[in-house]
């Protein structure tokens, strides 16, 4: 469904100029969430529950309030009643009500004249807790004897007879499973688990909120989406959405975790209580790991059938996922995408969203997809292994392609899975020799991408430059991509484009930089806004020349007569028209707003080589290859960066990252020392191949690339470890003790 004729030859797209914000970010000048200050500012701190599940009997803040420098304390009593649905969930998560639902759940917050005083004051707040039984494991939470975390949390979808902790149920599929399995020469059934992983952005959440007695104010915050922050914060506070203007700072990583609110409503509530003094809140790493959203953990059963020549005949998956104390584990997406790489006639998925005494999960890069990929791509690897089939050839045989009816229903348009598999197969990494205790793993993955509410403006400036204003914060170089697309659309140099991330007061609603949408949707809006401008620029030229605007075309950054019949006039450049703008009708700008529906998913195939120490079970990544479809790579270096970053995060999730809860329900590893993200010496160079199967729903063919990259690493690494050790390990992470136990036959 092409929106327009697609360009194929480009002047700027596909080049790799310096990013506009590069200088600020290598000199320390860029201002992130915690770098914003205001005169008269107070500092906030949060008291958090040390219990996994406890009734809050009484909160006494008198000693804290008596401490010199303390200006306000807020508890749930300072927030309105009567919220429902996700608004209530957000409010309850930002500040506990009757019960603390997890270790780290906010119970009270303080504003004081210094960060030290605020932290001291928090320790003086006395809370009487009645400790309740808790559960943190998804399978345990579904058992009959599991403590009930919240009555009535389940929605209409949950069948009768399930534990009240099961809050949503999904069931989808098609075809005839019995028939499909009967056609198989080999059926494999396995159960898998993955642990919760945190997004691990290096910048902790930080904000500065200011709100007067009239409930109006401002918020400066590091976020992926400031319109989301505005809507959510005001909903939690029970005030009108537009009472607050939200300005995004630079953002030090998000990966999905900064698409919601935690401390933002607290800073506003504290500010209001102090008579409108600005209140800055900065989380510690401990708070980030205990109280913001990691992704869900999963427990999954997969059954797949294959003929001996490699055709998948049937697939069934059951997915149980916990996303903390609130509904929202991404099991809906997990079930949709579990088998989506392949053309399978008989397929069925069942999903359970389960609540536990853990922090409310937040989106994490391709939310829900990596867990399912681990289970399904491990099972396919095992089928190939037992049938003696090549894993890439087998995937090619079953691969979804244009016209394939997806396992979730609709037919695919042009997609690039086949191309990624073919590129992986011919890459030198796929034929590199392997030594003893080494193994190679292959896996593919998919993310369907997103359009989302999008609003942008482009203004022509009097000096002949153009200023693009978008609403999606730049997390990984998207200013450069927007500037390239604007340069291409206008036919002006990249250096003549300025890119602005606007606050909530300056544009219509924008969804966050999430769902791999920024380059697609804000890019589309930038191009369409530019085209809107170009029409106006042509009109100015036409007026000057005294000809019909229809007789003016825009080419190479200039207005030109469309042909000899239009008249003989020298081309007018953008700079010339801009220079006269003030006297020819005033400012020129273009706008675009839509929820664009032309997004299209991105497939990727990863190939990894590992070596496993047979005496300790430790896995070393030797080689890593990412092949992914970008549709059209706008700034190829940042596209590669997304591939590499996604792979690194997936490797971490596969090998060492995990949430470890003790018997007491407390998080054992809320520190980077023990929440083990990959460090520089853990990884090799990450090789990349950009495949380009243009998306017809974008003027330049863009597909979002941000999320797919985290999906294949979990199974690819597990498949490589399988080959290196001869052991199939169905539980992530592949920590050394687990791998060693498997090698020793104790797994």
């Amino acid at each position: 469904m092409a929106l327009d004729g697609q360009k194929t030859a480009y002047k700027y797209i596909g080049t790799t100029p310096d990013r506009p914000d590069g200088l600020d970010k290598v000199t320390g000048r860029a201002r992130y969430g915690a770098d914003i200050s205001m005169p008269g500012m107070l500092h906030g701190a949060v008291l958090r529950s040390p219990h996994a599940h406890a009734r809050i009997v009484k909160i006494d803040a008198s000693k804290a309030l008596a401490l010199k420098g303390v200006k306000a304390v807020v508890t749930r009593a300072d927030f309105p009643d009567g919220l429902d649905g996700e608004d209530w969930n957000l409010q309850e998560n930002c500040m506990a009500g009757e019960k603390a639902l997890y270790d780290g759940h906010a119970v009270a917050a303080v504003a004081a004249t210094s960060p030290l005083i605020a932290r001291d004051a928090v320790k003086l707040i006395e809370v009487d807790y009645e400790v309740l039984p808790h559960v943190t494991d998804v399978d345990a939470a579904m058992k009959d004897d599991a403590p009930v975390i919240r009555e009535g949390a389940a929605d209409f979808s949950v069948p009768e007879g399930l534990h009240p902790n099961v809050v949503r149920y999904f069931d989808s599929g098609r075809g005839d499973l019995d028939k499909g399995f009967a056609e198989a020469d080999l059926i494999i059934e396995r159960s898998y688990t993955t642990e919760a992983a945190h997004q691990g952005y290096i910048e902790p959440h930080a904000c500065l909120g200011q709100m007067g007695e009239d409930g109006r104010g401002e918020l400066w915050v590091c976020t992926q989406g400031h319109w989301f922050v505005r809507r959510m914060s005001t909903a939690v506070l029970g005030i009108e959405t537009t009472n607050i203007r939200v300005t995004p700072s630079e953002i030090g990583g998000g990966f999905g975790g900064k698409t919601t609110v935690f401390i933002e409503p607290l800073s506003l509530a504290l500010s209001r209580k102090t008579g409108g003094k600005p209140v800055k809140m900065v989380m510690s790493r401990n708070e980030v790991l205990r109280a913001t959203g990691p992704t869900a953990s999963a427990s999954m059963d997969i059954k797949m059938g294959m003929t001996k020549d490699g055709k998948i005949t049937a697939a069934h998956g059951t997915f149980r996922m916990q996303g903390g104390a609130f509904p929202g584990a991404p099991v809906d997406v997990t079930t949709m995408l579990a088998f989506a790489n392949y053309d399978i006639e008989n397929v069925h998925h069942i999903g359970y969203d389960v609540i536990t005494n853990r922090p409310k999960q937040a989106a994490y890069r391709a939310p829900g997809a990596p867990m399912a990929a681990f289970a399904t791509e491990s099972t396919i690897d095992e089928l190939c292994r037992e049938l003696g089939l090549d894993p890439i050839d087998t995937r090619l045989k079953n691969a979804a392609r244009e016209g394939t009816r997806a396992t979730f229903g609709p037919k695919f348009g042009p997609i690039g899975l086949v191309e990624t598999l073919e590129a992986a197969k011919t890459h030198p990494n796929y034929s590199a020799p392997l030594g003893p205790n080494q193994g190679r793993g292959v896996a593919s993955g998919y993310w369907m991408n997103w359009g989302g509410e999008t609003s942008a403006s482009v203004a022509i400036s009097e000096d002949g430059t153009v200023t693009v204003s978008i609403g999606t914060p730049d997390i990984g170089g998207s200013r450069a991509s927007m500037a390239l697309m604007a340069a291409e659309a206008f036919g002006i140099p990249y250096e003549d484009v300025r890119v602005n991330i606007s606050d909530t007061g300056a544009l219509g609603v924008n969804e966050p930089t999430h769902g791999s949408r920024a380059t697609y949707a804000s890019g589309l809006a930038t191009i369409r806004s530019a085209e809107d401008c170009i029409g106006k620029l042509c009109k100015r030229a036409a007026d000057k020349w005294g000809i019909d605007p229809e007789a003016v075309i825009w080419e190479d950054g200039c207005a030109k007569p469309s042909g000899p019949n239009a008249g003989e006039f020298p081309p007018m450049s953008l700079a010339e028209i801009a220079g006269e703008m003030g006297s020819t009708g005033g400012p020129i700008s273009g706008h675009f707003e839509d929820s664009p529906a032309g997004f299209s998913g991105s497939f990727g195939t990863h190939v990894v080589d590992v070596e496993v120490d047979p005496e300790t079970g430790r896995t070393t990544i030797l080689r890593y290859l990412v092949v992914q479809d970008a549709g059209k790579a706008i700034h190829p270096a940042y596209v590669e960066g997304q591939f590499q970053g996604g792979a690194a995060q997936g490797i971490g999730w596969a090998l060492n990252e995990e949430y470890i809860y003790g018997e007491d329900g407390r998080l054992q590893n809320p520190v980077f020392l023990d929440y083990r993200v990959p460090v520089a010496s853990d990884l090799p160079m990450i090789d990349t191949v950009i495949v380009e199967v243009p998306n017809p729903g974008h003027p330049y063919g863009v597909r979002g690339v941000g999320e797919t990259g985290i999906t294949p690493p979990l199974p690819a690494v597990a498949n490589a470890v399988r080959e290196a050790t001869g052991k199939r390990i169905c539980n992530l992470p592949l920590r050394p003790s687990r791998v060693l136990a498997a090698i020793q036959g104790k797994g």
Partner: protein, 81 residues
């Protein structure tokens, strides 16, 4: 009449049907017709669904046009990181 395909979890709310034919020139009209024909679907639709029209997912777009021979799939609500 457009064909609307329901995921299996929705079928019990629509008299066990996998596919329902309902009138409507836009996504919004089709969804309204669907609820009129099968009121049991209302909570599911209120919770939020994604709609694919002829292979294209059209989020938040009740005004998106639907042809008489369009193939529509209801999908679970999407999100992203």
């Amino acid at each position: 009449m457009a064909e609307v395909h329901l995921w299996s979890g929705l079928r019990s709310l629509a008299d066990g049907k996998e596919m329902v034919e309902v009138p409507g020139a836009t996504v919004g009209q089709v969804l309204d017709s669907l609820v009129a024909a099968h009121p049991g679907l209302e909570p599911a639709l209120q919770r939020g669904v994604s709609v694919a029209v002829d292979g294209q997912i059209v989020p938040n777009s009740r005004n998106h046009p639907v042809d008489p021979d369009s193939e529509i799939f209801l999908l679970q609500k999407l999100a992203g990181g």
